[in-house]
């Protein structure tokens, strides 16, 4: 029987368009502590790890999290044990998921990205990986991160470097920041650099102030806003890229839509706007059953309409195509 949920990202066939969003499901097997982790994984099409850097990173000072209405501000600062630890101790757990795995990588220099890509593609146990997600958009680190993401030349250079160092088997995904005026500029730059897939959006910059202490609440002052609050932002950016960039339009460069998804309706919206797959992050904290619920909702919708996900991609642009 045809799997209506099946989507194709380049050569990679995913059994469902749902993915974890980077940073919200740990590096490897952290979510297995949940009794129903099997159900969560069953609904997934791919697993995206938390950001990995070359050297261990201890992260930002406290507080690291603040709640907003229908969203959270976070400034973790990419806490992780470094790529070596990741390869040695964590990556093998990912094999158990039997899912394609995308590793989110981050660095504070162009060379750093290249080195990281080379390290991950050379290593034996990295066979499990299906692709790398280049994080040029994290708002919570001082060097690199969003500073790279807003500079189209930098984006192009980074993607080029990674593309050069990487095992050609692996997909290169570029995760873009929404903190720009026109998302299509860095998107075009990433395509110029040779990215296989675009993913958008990362968190939106924001802050919170504690009125008792009369000081910024987050230890890092700036945080990234995520959750349902940013869904319209992400949705438009996906729409915009799909509309304005011919490569995306023709399906040559698929888009992964991320940002504020909490219900299956949101997934459909993203798909209609032009995304081929979607990442779900923050709402997972609120409701650990969200993957199962969304998967259930989606299959119901698709069966009712007798269509599959791949028929829906970019359908919201139908009329525009006539122009």
């Amino acid at each position: 029987m045809k799997n209506r949920m099946q989507v194709k990202i380049k050569n990679l066939v995913m059994k469902s368009p749902l993915m974890t969003a980077s940073g919200t499901s740990g590096h490897a097997n952290e979510i297995e502590v949940l009794e129903k982790s099997g159900q969560i994984l069953a609904g997934l099409g791919a697993f995206v790890t938390k950001g990995v850097t070359l050297k261990p990173k201890e992260g930002n000072p406290e507080f690291r999290i603040a709640e907003t209405r229908t969203g959270i501000l976070n400034s973790i600062g990419l806490q992780n044990e470094g790529v070596e630890f990741f390869i040695q101790n964590e990556i093998h757990h990912l094999a158990n998921f039997e899912l394609p795995v995308f590793v989110n990588i981050s660095a504070d220099s162009v060379e750093g990205f290249g080195e990281l890509a080379a390290y991950l593609s050379d290593h034996d146990s990295a066979q499990i990986i299906s692709g790398l997600e280049i994080n040029v958009s994290c708002p919570n680190i001082k060097k690199g991160g969003a500073a790279f993401g807003t500079d189209p030349k930098m984006v192009e250079q980074i993607v080029k470097t990674v593309k050069k160092q990487i095992d050609p088997r692996l997909l290169v995904i570029t995760k873009l920041t929404p903190n720009v005026t026109d998302i299509t500029i860095p998107a075009r730059a990433a395509i110029q650099g040779g990215t296989d897939v675009l993913s958008m959006i990362n968190t939106v910059r924001g802050m919170a102030i504690d009125i008792d202490t009369q000081k910024p609440l987050l230890g890092n002052i700036i945080g990234g806003l995520s959750g349902p609050a940013i869904k319209p932002v992400g949705l438009f950016m996906v729409y915009d890229c799909f509309r304005s960039i011919p490569e995306c339009r023709s399906g040559k460069i698929p888009i992964m839509g991320i940002g504020g998804i909490s219900r299956w309706q949101d997934v459909i919206e993203y798909i209609l706007a032009g995304a081929s797959a979607v990442g779900i992050g923050t709402s997972w904290f609120v409701n650990p059953d969200v993957f199962r619920e969304i998967h259930h909702g989606l299959t119901g919708y698709l069966a009712g309409k007798k269509i599959s996900i791949s028929d829906l991609i970019g359908k919201a642009h139908g009329q525009l195509a006539m122009e």
Partner: protein
């Protein structure tokens, strides 16, 4: 694929459901007599076990496959609907991690594990209707590899055999377009997770039906259908009484379980949807317990164990006379089909990395493990035990190889001639006659034939244990007793008594009574026989052991007998009635293993056991071993291994019902609230662990979503101006973490710790029923959103929670570290989780002192609320009541307040224990006063400055300290990394997650300078 359906997983290779040739089995078991004990370690669906039972034997059956165990249970033992449901739940849980594993292969493309998807069938030239299986197709989701592997001849035969029994249109076949010229190829949707997954999925599907009535209805239909299919599968005709019932859809159920279950389910569902009136009639039919009454006579004769055969509990207490083995043959499915799970066992040691593991199918390649299995059996049974080997050898060489291996293991293989006559020889194309042999193995003189030195198998350790000379005469007596205990219930009881005597003697208790019928002292050594026992008062005629303390306290013990729960209930009720709150008489149940005990600790059962105190045998052994290591070392080691490890409980996302949510602090705006809720999903929560609580009740959050989405979607072109009121107040988004203040169960009334004084040694291994009511104490934050919403929770609201979270603190271990007194130091709401700590500590008979720091006493005043725990509600104070309830004396509670208010002091605690100022100052002056500062420990929770000061005090006085940290949290399970604190590891400062590595930390771990 649309909605995931059960039929997607259906398999056509189902050895379990086949009609079995019981006539062959009758012959195989022809020498089984009444009273024999037959062991069937790979029972499958239990048909051989049934035949053995019919011969009058007692049967011990087991299987690795939980589904098989369940089926055997359904087949052989009467089972209630509830028990079946529970079984299914556990099967479903086990399916994912253990069974599905067996049906995966490695993709040659990327090397990852994938499941094989399709079986391709090929038609013979020119004859479209005669098709046979040809290959297995696998598709890799990772690298996109698609490949087919031709089946070997034996696999083809096997598939044919199995498909023969299947209905004509079992699966919709699909012709593959554009393949080959002469042969047509067909694809059958084939298994990835096979029968278990499909059944479990189906059952899960039924479970997720939201309407309770319909859900229960389908559960009943499902289970009764399952039962019917099995019974009909055996008898092979429709003589079964059930089939005469007027149930369309399931009446014709005959051969295949899956097809029928699924069809019946679907039919019933459709019918039910059309006409809901039929429900009642059907429900009355499916009370199938009457139908399985026929099996009730055999109830006492079967034990069915879910177990890996490697860990099969040898030796069984009774003497095993027959072991039934059906190793994988090259031709499966006709008589006793090869069990894959047995194959999986035999596969151990074989290279699993091959694409298609043909070894699974043939015994020739598995002779080595086969021999090991025989040796294992030989080591744990005696010489008269016979192994019935049901194997159809098609090759002479195989038969001979089997003979060799058997003799190497100390067995002689003999052919069963009588079976030969039953099965006609088939001729192969080449003209060779196929030899079909059934054999049984007779133990030859083991000592003569056994090659080389004793293998280092753990089972042979038992043998060597006997031969070793122990220095202590009692110890060798213990060993003898131990080996007896493994065979004889009375000897086992005797051992328990000796263990108890040792344990209780430490706290001054003396065994005063032992029910003579339960013990057998005839052969016991004099050294270990207890002194002559007093007669016992006749109030409690069903007690097995009674112990008494000089001060009059009494402890009773019963051996748990699963078949005699009624007796236990009576005892429990009687003692509860007499004892109530005095706790002068405490009754214990002794369980054989922890699994059994935990199943009894469930709330459903505990209702019948109003004052539940439980101990399990392995714990007794360990504790006795600690007290007298020289006497109990070896036996304790061996017996604690016998216990089945309890399954680790994962974190659950569950709903809880609010019982009350009452403000604390009378005047002005209350800042503190006590929230009480009940749920049955939070078993095993330990002190220090916490839950993430959703601040809005379930309905309200859903409603909020609906309003939001209605607003977003319905203000389209056709519906202008539909006004929807939207609450613009900020709403919380994340769940909030809270430590438990108290957990309880209604039969343990408030304050029972006052009088309950278990002997510490016994308390360390005592368990009560799982609690199901919990209480948290929280502060409404000024300007906070979440806690403000929480204050609106009402009685009856359902709230979502995630838990239990955090590391489990194993408190009995502290005793072995030499700690006997614990000081709880809490600031403000930080005291709440410490109360829970105190509850557990008091249960394990630690001494406790509590130091409470608050801003003003008034904020602790409880609002009179219905039936309060306090005797005088208007004088009740939070913490003081709670700590009193868990057994602290008033002089053990200290209280400091920062503000001098007019509130009258609580009369509950002495005036000297009040202090104006900080709790740390009070604690420091207390420490200076006392002389003996050994065996102390501090547990602290509160604001950061308090903890820092307290840590300094602890290091000055050199007292070990634990801290319970509270942080802002995002996920609670360790993925978001927001709840970090500074810790030291190897002199290096780093961030640790409070929700995973904590929340209880050792004070030495924390980096206090940077905290």
């Amino acid at each position: 694929m649309g909605k995931k359906r059960v039929s997607d997983h259906l398999s056509c290779s189902l050895p379990y459901w086949e009609q079995s040739q019981t006539s062959v089995l009758d012959l195989l078991f022809s020498d089984v007599k009444t009273g024999d004990l037959v062991l069937d370690p790979f029972c499958g669906a239990g048909i051989p076990a049934l035949v053995a039972l019919q011969q009058g034997a007692r049967v011990v059956a087991g299987d690795l496959n939980p589904m098989a165990v369940l089926l055997t249970r359904v087949l052989l033992q009467p089972m209630g609907l509830f028990a079946l449901r529970e079984e299914f739940q556990s099967v479903r849980e086990a399916v994912a991690d253990r069974i599905c594993d067996r049906y995966t292969i490695l993709c040659p493309g990327c090397g990852k594990k994938i499941g094989f998807e399709q079986l391709i069938w090929k038609s013979t030239e020119g004859r479209e209707d005669e098709i046979r299986p040809d290959a297995v197709q696998a598709a890799c989701i990772n690298c996109g590899f698609k490949g087919t592997e031709r089946l070997t001849d034996s696999q083809v035969r096997r598939q044919i055999t199995q498909s023969r029994t299947s209905p004509e249109n079992w699966f919709p076949r699909k012709k593959i377009q554009g393949t080959g010229s002469k042969n047509s190829y067909y694809i059958h949707d084939q298994f990835t997770q096979r029968n278990l997954a499909s059944l479990a999925d189906l059952f899960h599907g039924i479970n997720s039906i939201s309407m309770k009535k319909s859900r229960e209805f389908f559960q009943s239909v499902f289970i009764s259908t399952l039962f019917q299919c099995i019974t009909q599968g055996i008898s092979g005709n429709s003589s079964n009484p059930i089939s005469d019932a007027e149930i369309p859809g399931i009446r014709k159920a005959s051969v295949s379980l899956e097809v029928n279950v699924w069809k019946a389910f679907k039919d019933q569902f459709e019918q039910w949807m059309q006409n809901k009136k039929t429900t009642n009639a059907l429900l009355s039919f499916v009370r199938f317990s009457d139908s399985i009454k026929a099996f009730e006579d055999t109830d006492d004769h079967v034990t069915i164990i879910h177990s890996d055969c490697l860990e099969f509990p040898f030796p069984q207490r009774p003497k095993i006379t027959h072991v039934f083995l059906d190793p994988p043959g090259d031709q499966a499915g006709i008589c006793l089909s090869a069990s894959e799970f047995q194959g999986a066992w035999l596969r151990k040691g074989v290279d699993q990395k091959r694409f298609w593991n043909t070894e699974l199918q043939s015994i020739e390649d598995n002779l080595e493990p086969f021999q090991k299995l025989l040796e294992k059996i030989a080591a744990s049974t005696d010489d008269s035990c016979r192994i019935i080997l049901s194997y159809r050898a098609s090759k002479k060489e195989t038969w001979e190889a089997l003979q060799d291996r058997s003799s190497a293991a100390g067995y002689e293989l003999q052919e069963l001639e009588s079976v030969k006559s039953l099965i006609p020889c088939r001729k192969k194309k080449q003209g060779k006659t196929e030899a079909e042999k059934y054999g049984f193995l007779v133990r030859t003189r083991r000592n003569n034939r056994r090659p080389g030195p004793e293998p280092s198998d753990k089972n042979t350790k038992a043998v060597s244990l006997h031969e070793t000379q122990f220095p202590h005469p009692i110890q060798s007596a213990m060993v003898r007793l131990l080996s007896e205990a493994s065979e004889n219930q009375k000897a086992y009881n005797r051992l328990c008594l000796i263990l108890l005597e040792t344990i209780l003697a430490k706290d001054g208790y003396r065994i005063v009574f032992a029910e003579p019928n339960q013990f057998d002292w005839s052969e016991a050594d004099r050294e270990i026989r207890p002194e002559a026992l007093h007669s016992h008062d006749k109030n409690f005629p069903t007690i097995d052991i009674a112990a008494e303390h000089p001060d009059g306290r009494q402890i009773y013990f019963c051996f748990y007998d699963p078949g005699n729960e009624k007796k236990h209930k009576q005892v429990a009720g009687k003692i509860f009635q007499q004892d109530r709150q005095s706790f002068h008489r405490v009754c214990y149940l002794i369980f054989e293993n922890r699994l059994q005990m935990n199943s009894c600790r469930q709330i459903e059962w505990a209702d019948n056991w109003p004052r539940g105190f439980f101990v399990c045998y392995p714990d007794l052994c360990q504790q006795a071993g600690k007290i007298q290591p020289d006497l109990f070392r070896d036996p304790a080691d061996r017996f604690s291994k016998r216990s089945v490890p309890s399954r680790k409980q994962g974190i659950r996302h569950f709903r809880a019902e609010v019982l009350r949510n009452s403000p604390v602090g009378l005047k002005g705006k209350p800042m503190h609230y006590k929230l009480e809720f009940q749920t049955s999903d939070m078993k095993n929560i330990g002190p220090g662990q916490f839950v993430m609580v959703d601040t809005l009740p379930i309905g309200q959050r859903k409603k909020m979503d609906q309003i939001y989405y209605q607003n977003a979607y319905t203000t389209g072109k056709n519906q202008p101006g539909k006004k929807i009121r939207i609450d613009l107040m900020p709403k919380s988004y994340l769940k909030r973490p809270f430590g438990i203040q108290r957990a309880y169960y209604h039969c343990f009334e408030w304050g029972y710790h006052h009088t309950l004084s278990l002997p510490p040694v016994l308390a360390g291994i005592t368990h009560t029923v799982f609690p199901h009511k919990f209480e948290i104490f929280y502060k409404r934050m000024e300007g906070g959103i979440g806690t403000r919403e929480m204050t609106d929770l009402k009685k009856g609201d359902q709230v979502r929670m995630l838990g239990p979270l955090g590391k489990y603190t194993h408190i009995p271990e502290w005793r072995s570290q030499g700690i006997s007194e614990v000081h709880l130091v809490g600031g403000g709401v930080g005291m709440a989780p410490l109360v829970f700590f105190g509850q557990a500590l008091k249960f394990y008979s630690f001494d406790l002192k509590a130091f409470i720091g608050i801003d003003r006493i008034e904020s602790l005043r409880e609002t009179p609320y219905g039936k309060s725990f306090a005797e005088e509600p208007e004088k009740a104070y939070v913490y003081i009541e709670e700590l009193g309830g868990i057994g602290l004396r008033p002089c053990d509670i200290y209280l400091s307040r920062e503000y001098r208010d007019n509130e009258k002091l609580s009369e509950k605690i002495p005036d000297n224990n009040y202090h104006y100022g900080l709790v740390t100052d009070q604690y420091r002056s207390y420490l200076e006063k006392i002389k003996n500062r050994e065996n102390l420990m501090i547990i602290a929770c509160g604001p950061k400055p308090m903890m820092v000061v307290l840590q300094r005090i602890a290091s000055v006085f050199d007292i070990p300290m634990k801290v319970l940290l509270e942080k802002r949290m995002g996920c609670g399970i360790g993925v978001c990394m927001s709840c970090v604190c500074r810790t030291k590891k190897d002199q290096k400062s780093q961030y640790s997650r409070v929700c995973v590595e904590g929340p209880v930390f050792d004070a030495n771990e924390i980096d206090w300078e940077k905290l």
